[in-house]
Symmetry: C2
């Protein structure tokens, strides 16, 4: 107990530090170097609890401060105190979601929360089904699995040899998990994006693409799906949370026509990792698709209502309790708390966009105001601004972002992601999901990019 | 911060209570009743932090005390203080495993630990590959995915239509996740367990079956796999941990011949949920099988050694940090600490077996000493012991375990699982994985079964 309290004291100090702008976002070391900096090896003999505390401190010393107001590197950032407390409680309760028997409260909370999310999507009375899965990639895979099963239920027993060759449609900017899903399910990545002669069974529209933050036109896509009787999935892993904002939810107009929706509270809502939901319009389908009737878990003669044993809907057997942190945060903030947090992040990104769109040395990667918090741009150091030869310029520009990023990590002052895309050379992809970020942090980011990239 | 400390105080009190035999394992209520007992609804408006603390207390009040020394209901039980501290730290660090960039220490610790596990399996110098996945079911699915890809790499792009009909082999007592995997991957459940004319590609031997705790003869199975050039997977989700025991590891003789091994530290090693590893003998295969080269995560021009960006091996995109709790517990206990914990659980189950095998009113479900901690038995109340008619007896006996179990939950004194299997009517499946359990707890269980079942 006193050991646990000592660890808590270390953690509380770490949290205070993480929110402090004077602290480095990262104390970066190359893998080989980090391997040397501490003894990380596993031994036969036990260590003392004091040594264990030393390991905890070392681990935190080299960890990324994902709660830091200047950490912009991923879609998941920030640290909510209620969410964290809920995650600690979850670890302490240490149970599995597969049956009501071993997770009575958590099963109910999952029920309540999924229903609420379906109401927000706009399905009548919040009806339908759903599950929390270990991330958006798996949620998307569930959707594809359900779509295939819906069209060809025999696939469960007979496999893909019993069905025609299938095609799944999605945009070029969709998340790679759609292709991973197709590969895993035996559909094949070549069947994603329109191959002639194949039977279309699945369309995934993205609500908030990973890189540009773009929203596919859901109503138009749903019309086509309806016409051809194809499963309509909305991947709202990143953009789904905008449904909670009265100002921004129009970007998802038509989402209520979806057969399934992926929505990751662990991204834009700052719920601690992992927390991803798949919502399904049709009730019962998940159960039919995935159930295997394991009689050691799902005995039919239990003394309570068996519909609360949700485990057989899942691809997983044991399933981590991901619900409590979302539920508790929702109680603490209310829907309006999430709304204002989301609105604020979008304001910050609009501020960034307005600040750099006409600023010398910046070029935007796509036209127009960002739809989500993604702002994609190139920074051209002064020495490159007057190069006329397009090819020469791109060649040099391609190297700018990686160098600035490496320097950011070495100084530890901030972190933002960069990448190439198609024929576009490396650009910065700025995203904001941390409620702790402010206008000053955006100003800082721009200054820092210029400071670190000026000489390139 | 003071809010977090208040939650910690609640959690510490809960932990003390959980280990106290005077505390109920569960304060059971039927779903509808539990729904009424508290206000679990989500609202638009925020709640005060005091209300949040009330919710935390209510959640714990109705939670199962999985750490309780008399909780025997699942394969995952117990609560290790170092493991818990590590999980709290993990939540606080709140990051993703996909790149070294955002999880430098955790990526290294995963590397160190997977290597150690491969050494224990017996692969030369610990070479090979692996990943921590969200549970044994997913680990098994990975294995099947890799086996298919190994034999038919074109399946990734072209799907199942490019390959012959496949067959996977496993025993009747294998875990249902093998069938779930086959259904998801488009192989079909009918292809699991030998269909003529199909091409065998995958054999899953179970090291510690879920219900009987039996070990398939790995050497014999591996010989057959070698002869027919079929992927040899060992599902050691439950039994893999016996590799850490010098006394018991012979039960897995031949495991070093496997192409892949599932091993769940969250079961027999009492690591907090979720913690499951898939170990793979061949290096590079996971990467080839699963990679999609998402350039927003896995930029090729990063400034560090890219082999530490393990994310593209995974089916997932974001991946929860499951490694730290295992690593920290390993440091605290040493390999010998895990060994003695495992040996002790096996001793307890032998004690139980010896105690009931000739005791009046008990019948064992299978012959001989248990190989793992599973002890499967029927309890016959006095009034049923002299029934001669087999059918009549079975009919009545089938109802005994569910009633005793329901009574256990109502009194909250202990919990143990029961189930039917094939033509065998409901029996108790006792398993022991909680290091806090003692001989007295086993005595208690027997007394309690008799107390609650005497009148049936
Ligand atoms: C649009 C989209 N879908 C799915 C995912 C996958 O989510 P996760 O990382 O939770 O698996 C992402 C992750 O960035 C995403 O941006
Ligand atoms: C033999 C075996 N394999 C796989 C699994 C699945 O493990 P998990 O619950 O971690 O998905 C289990 C779970 O009981 C098991 O007993």
């Amino acid at each position: 107990m006193s050991f646990l309290q000592e660890v808590v004291d270390i953690l509380l100090a770490y949290i205070v530090e993480s929110f402090d702008r004077e602290t480095k976002v990262i104390d970066f070391h190359y893998p080989n170097e980090l391997m040397q900096r501490n003894n990380w090896e596993l031994q036969d003999e036990p260590e003392s609890l004091d040594d264990i505390l030393v390991s905890c401190r070392a681990t935190l010393k080299y960890a990324i401060k994902t709660a830091h107001p200047r950490y912009f590197n991923q879609l998941s950032t920030g640290l909510d105190m209620v969410g964290l407390a809920a995650d600690w409680l979850t670890s302490t309760a240490n149970t599995n979601m597969f049956t009501y028997e071993v997770a009575p409260v958590f099963v109910l909370l999952e029920y309540v929360t999924l229903k609420k999310m379906r109401e927000i999507i706009g399905w009548q009375d919040g009806s339908g089904d759903g599950i929390f899965s270990p991330g958006g990639a798996i949620s998307n895979m569930y959707a594809m699995l359900l779509a295939r099963f819906k069209m060809f239920p025999e696939v469960k027993e007979k496999g893909m040899s019993s069905v025609p060759r299938l095609a799944a449609f999605t945009s070029e900017h969709s998340h790679f998990s759609i292709k991973k899903g197709a590969a895993a399910l035996g559909i094949g990545t070549e069947s994603v994006i329109c191959v002639k002669g194949f039977v279309p069974f699945f369309v995934s529209a993205t609500a908030g693409t990973t890189v540009y933050g773009a929203f596919d036109p859901l109503i138009a896509v749903s019309d086509i799906c309806k016409k051809y009787n194809v499963w309509f999935h909305v991947d709202g892993a990143w953009g789904g949370s905008l449904l909670m904002s009265r100002r921004h939810r129009w970007k998802l107009d038509g989402v209520d026509r979806a057969n399934s929706v992926t929505w990751n509270p662990h991204k834009m809502m700052s719920v601690p990792l992992q927390c991803s939901a798949l919502l399904v319009r049709e009730e019962g389908l998940m159960q039919n698709c995935n159930q295997m009737h394991a009689c050691y878990l799902f005995q039919q003669d239990k003394h309570y209502d068996l519909s609360y044993d949700t485990g057989d809907k899942a691809l997983q057997c044991g399933r981590h309790v991901d619900i409590f942190k979302l539920w508790l945060m929702w109680r603490a903030k209310g829907t309006i708390g999430f709304e204002s947090q989301i609105d604020k992040c979008l304001e910050l990104s609009e501020y960034l966009y307005n600040k750099i769109k006409d600023r010398e040395g910046y070029e935007m990667v796509f036209d127009g105001k960002p739809q989500h918090t993604n702002v994609c741009f190139w920074y051209l150091p002064p020495g490159m601004r007057h190069i006329v030869d397009k090819e020469e310029k791109n060649k040099r520009l391609h190297k700018v972002a990686p160098v600035i990023k490496a320097r950011m990590m070495e100084y530890g002052t901030t972190m933002v992601s960069y990448q190439p895309q198609g024929d576009k050379v490396n650009f910065f992809r700025m995203v904001i999901s941390n409620p702790a970020a402010t206008f000053e942090d955006i100003d800082f980011l721009i200054e820092e990019i210029e400071r670190l990239g000026h000489d390139l």
